[in-house]
Each structure stands twice: as structure tokens, then as C-alpha cells.
């Protein structure tokens, strides 16, 4: 009965935007000043191209930017054309080929990144996305396609992870659905804010805002989680419910909600802001889990294991919603999605079973260290954006290149160190469990024999 209800709810959640947006002819996620289609002809004299739009088959003539050579344009391949609205009507800013050629190195990279991203996701509930999108972009995938393909891989992965952790008795479905529903509203607010900033301060302003939010949230929240985990690790104590959560649970403001697995009874007025913030952050920095999981731990009062497992349910609902939005614009490269899934479906289950062997604070340690290293990655981008806004002198090209490198490698380090901590903690836990089992068996044989 309960399962049936849940299934119906999910189905409605997924089908509603699909139907409404399919009828309206587009979602609101992907950028609007972007055309998708095929370049059928190039006119070198006029420095223009003939472009056939995807779907409608409408033919338009577009002007190439001065910096682009007519002979560099590739014909009859699906491309994404972004328009330069400031330069005039129909002027191209950039052309990127939608589907890159798959080489062996690229395939292996996607498999490995997928596997590690999945491991992290299964263990702390989120993660992977923050490194997968930049990794794909550095392989030559256009930004919008990278985001869309990543989104489409996120929800099946989260589904498998959530199922596993539900079986281990860690995921609170009710809490997850309540959080997801409010997070979807949060995403809409987040998008509105983004658009406002984009319109008033331009691209660089928007980037600076995103980086600023990213860094402040990650450093503050990540720092606190690390401090908390350090305290627990030092005291060898079991995690206790935070004082803030206890105080909030005492507020008897209807409607009160009871979450069985999380063992929490709390007013809906507390869970709603946490969900909204998760959604807003997801719309801003693409990793809502970085606020969702700490929110569920310190504000709602769930344990780290339950919070990280429940985050996977939120990720599933939001990922499915987002995938439909991006899919409607036809930006998902299914090859990328499925190659990442090949690795991440193994990783996510490994991460999920890993949580059964470690202490609660281990999840906090992995989460905090990932958040703090990712903050470095984003921080390295700030000088560039400041220069774009003329707030600091223009950077030298060497400095820019070095900062880009730092930013990318910090992401790789975040992923690598998280994978290392998880693997070590899991192996230790497994060996310990094995020794305990053997000792138990020996004791039985001795006492009974």
C-alpha cells in the first residue's frame, strides 16, 4: 500500500513537468540564446552560414564572428550555436560540436570518473556532479550538454543507491520526499535569483556570485562538519543529536511530522526551509547535497548515515525532474550518460555497502574534506571573475592558466582523497568485521565443543 502510494507520487512528479513542458515546447533549465541544428552551407564571401534548426527544420542565415574562419566550420554535424545578443541579430558567438568523437582515452576517463563519483555518492549522498561536469567539459563537451548528460546520469545512480541504502534500513523515504518537494520549489527561486543577477550584473557578475556563494557555504558548513567529526573521532563517542535540532524538535507548531527511520518528530516549518535552501543551492552551485545533508543532520536532527542515505532520494527526484527539463531541449548526450553510469552504478553500490562498516563520523569526515577542497577549486576562479568586472587589474595569461589548472586539479584531488578515505575506512571496517566473526565462531566451537 505504502509502496504503491510512493510509486504513484513519483510518477506524478515525473510526468507533470514532462506533459506540461512537452506541450509548451520547452523547459526552463537550459539557456535560451542557444540554437541546435546543422550547418548546411558556408558562404565565405558574406562570412555567414546557412543553419537548419533541429526539430522545426527552419532555415536561417547566421553571421560568423570576425575571429572565426569560414573554413574551420564543419558541415552536416549537429552543433550548438550560441548567439551574441550584444553584437546584433543573428551574430554567432561560438559554435561547438554537440557530439564529440569517442576515443579510448575519453571512454576510460569517463568510466573511472564515474566509478569514483558513484563511490562518493553512495557514501555521502551527493558528490560526483561537481567534478563530472568540469571533467566532461575539459574533454571537449559543450557546457550545456555536459550539464544535461550529467543530470541524466544522476537520477538512475541515485535511485540504485537509494534502493540499496533503503534495504540497509538507512533511508527515510518520507523525509526524502518532503525535502525533495520543497527543494524543487527552492530550485525555482534559485533560478529566478540567478536570472536577476545575470540581467543586472552580466555573465561575470553571475559567475562571481556563484563562486562567492559556493565558497562561503562550503567553507562555513564544511568547516563545521569537519570540527564536529574531529570532536567525535577524538572522543571515540557516538554522534549525538545537535542542540539546535533538539531545540527545534521541541517547537510544537503544527503540522508536526514524524520520520520513522530518522527517528525524528519535527514541525514541517523546520523541514521546509532546509528543503528550500537545498533547492536554491542546487540551482546555484549544482550540488544541493552540500547543504541538504548537513541541514538534515544539524537542523532536523537525523544521523549522518540516515541523512546521507535520504539525500539520495532527494537526488533521485530532483535529478529526474532536471533530466526531463534538459531532455526537452534535446541536450542529453546519451553516450556520455551511459558511460558514466557504467562506472557509477558499481561505485554507488560499493559506497552504499561501505557505510554499513564505518562509524557515523567517517561520513562527516569524507563530506567535510570534499567540501573544503572543492571550495579551493572555486576560489581559484574568483580572481578571473573580479578582473572581468574591472574590480582588479587584468590578469596575465600565465596567471589565468595557472589558476585554471589549480581549479581543475583541486577537483581531482577532492575526488581522489575522498575515494582514498572511503576505501581505507571500508577495508578497515571489513577486516574488523571478519575478525569479529572468526572470533565469535571460535568462541562457539570452544564453548559447545
Amino acid at each position: 500500500m505504502y509502496r504503491k502510494l510512493l510509486f504513484m507520487l513519483l510518477l506524478t512528479l515525473i510526468s507533470l513537468p514532462l506533459a506540461s513542458a512537452a506541450l509548451a515546447g520547452g523547459g526552463d533549465g537550459p539557456p535560451k540564446d542557444m540554437l541546435k541544428g546543422i550547418i548546411t552551407q558556408v558562404q565565405p564571401e558574406a562570412h555567414s552560414i546557412t543553419f537548419e534548426k533541429d526539430g522545426t527544420k527552419e532555415i536561417v542565415t547566421l553571421i560568423l564572428p570576425a575571429a572565426m574562419k569560414a573554413e574551420d566550420v564543419r558541415l552536416n554535424k549537429k552543433v550548438l550555436v550560441s548567439l551574441d545578443k550584444h553584437a546584433g541579430e543573428g551574430v554567432i558567438k561560438d559554435i561547438s560540436i554537440m557530439f564529440m568523437d569517442m576515443t579510448l582515452t575519453r571512454i576510460i576517463t569517463l568510466l573511472v570518473v564515474g566509478l569514483i563519483g558513484g563511490l562518493l555518492s553512495g557514501f555521502i549522498g551527493s558528490g560526483g556532479a561537481f567534478v563530472l561536469t568540469p571533467a566532461m567539459m575539459s574533454l571537449g563537451v559543450p557546457g550545456a550538454v555536459a550539464v544535461a548528460s550529467n543530470m541524466c546520469h544522476k537520477f538512475p545512480k541515485a535511485m540504485v543507491g537509494a534502493y540499496k541504502r533503503y534495504k540497509y534500513g538507512q533511508a527515510d523515504i518520507k523525509l526524502g520526499l518532503v525535502m525533495a518537494a520543497t527543494a524543487i520549489i527552492g530550485v525555482q527561486i534559485g533560478i529566478k535569483m540567478q536570472k536577476y543577477i545575470l540581467n543586472h550584473f552580466g555573465n561575470a557578475g553571475s559567475n562571481l556570485y556563484v563562486s562567492f556563494v559556493f565558497m562561503v557555504v562550503l567553507v562555513l558548513v564544511g568547516g563545521y562538519v569537519l570540527y564536529d567529526a574531529y570532536k567525535l573521532a577524538k572522543g571515540k563517542g557516538e554522534a549525538t543529536v545537535s542542540k539546535l535540532a533538539l531545540r527545534l524538535q521541541a517547537i510544537n507548531l503544527p503540522p508536526m511530522m514524524h520520520f520513522k527511520v530518522a527517528k525524528v518528530t519535527i514541525s514541517a516549518w523546520v523541514t521546509i526551509p532546509v528543503g528550500l535552501l537545498t533547492g536554491m543551492l542546487a540551482a546555484t552551485i549544482a550540488v544541493g547535497g552540500f547543504i541538504g545533508v548537513p541541514g538534515m543532520i544539524y537542523v532536523v536532527g537525523a544521523s549522518a548515515v540516515v541523512a546521507s542515505a535520504t539525500e539520495l532520494i532527494i537526488a533521485f527526484v530532483m535529478g529526474a525532474w532536471g533530466s526531463i527539463q534538459w531532455g526537452l531541449s534535446g541536450l542529453i548526450d546519451i553516450r556520455l550518460t551511459l558511460l558514466i553510469l557504467a562506472g557509477s552504478l558499481i561505485g554507488v553500490q560499493l559506497g552504499a555497502l561501505g557505510t554499513t562498516y564505518v562509524k557515523d563520523y567517517m561520513i562527516k569526515i569524507v563530506m567535510a574534506s570534499t567540501m573544503l577542497i572543492v571550495a579551493v577549486s572555486r576560489g581559484a576562479k574568483v580572481p578571473g571573475y573580479l578582473a572581468d568586472l574591472d574590480l582588479i587589474p587584468v590578469l596575465q595569461s600565465q596567471t589565468t592558466a595557472a589558476l585554471e589548472q589549480i581549479s581543475f586539479w583541486a577537483l581531482v584531488t577532492a575526488l581522489g582523497s575522498a575515494a582514498l578515505i572511503i576505501t581505507i575506512a571500508m577495508t578497515k571496517g571489513m577486516l574488523q568485521a571478519k575478525h569479529e566473526r572468526e572470533a565469535q565462531q571460535l568462541a562457539h566451537v570452544v564453548t559447545n565443543g
Partner: protein
């Protein structure tokens, strides 16, 4: 005569060594059943080694690989149709679902075969 668990286990081992696996398993199993609670292994009984799911792992693995091969040998057609937008969204989203069930089942069985299981 009072036969201890240890003796029973030892005789089961003797049968197993002689190739009589079924008898050995039966002896161990009977004992568990006699205790009336099959879900909890009897104290002192040698644990029954769970059979590893080799067959499902190989089966799902083969189906998964075939799907990947089909996808990549029709790369052009698939990428073009899957990005048409509108109702065609069903294709990438449904495709991701399908792969996650099949490849997910493969991954789950693979981990079991490798002996990686959740702590009980």
C-alpha cells in the same frame, strides 16, 4: 549418546570431504531447522557458505555489454534521435532507466561475487 555440535560438524566435514556434499549440507541444515529458527544460524553450527551469484552476474553482464555494443554501433542514429527534444525526451530518460536496472543488477551481483557485501 550425546552428540555435540562439534562432532556433528566434524562428521559433516567428513562427508563433504568424501564428496557427499548433499549429505553434509543436510546434516548441517537439519540441525539449523531443528532449532526452529531458520533465519538465525544455530550456535556452533558451521555456517553454510552462501552460493555466489555467478550466473546472474554473467547473464546481466552479457545483456549489459550487448546493450552498450548496440548503442555504440548505432552512435549516429541514437545521438540524433535522442536529442530531438519534446516527447523524444522519453528516449534518453527511459534509456537511462533501462540501463540502470540491467547494469545495476549486474553491478550488484558482481559485488556479491567479489565477496563485497553489507555488514549484517
Amino acid at each position: 549418546m550425546n552428540v555435540s555440535n562439534f562432532d556433528k560438524n566434524m562428521s559433516a566435514v567428513a562427508f563433504a570431504e568424501a564428496g557427499e556434499f548433499e549429505t553434509a549440507r543436510g546434516m548441517l541444515h537439519n540441525e539449523t531447522a531443528q532449532r526452529g529458527n531458520a533465519s538465525q544460524p544455530a550456535r556452533g553450527a558451521a555456517p553454510l557458505r552462501k552460493k555466489k551469484p555467478y550466473l546472474p552476474a554473467i547473464g546481466f553482464g552479457l545483456v549489459s555489454i550487448s546493450l552498450y555494443v548496440i548503442l555504440f554501433s548505432n552512435e549516429q542514429l541514437v545521438t540524433n534521435t535522442f536529442t530531438m527534444g519534446g516527447w523524444y525526451t522519453v528516449l534518453p530518460v527511459g534509456g537511462a532507466f533501462l540501463f540502470s536496472f540491467i547494469h545495476g543488477a549486474f553491478a550488484s551481483n558482481l559485488l556479491n561475487v567479489l565477496g563485497l557485501e553489507a555488514k549484517k
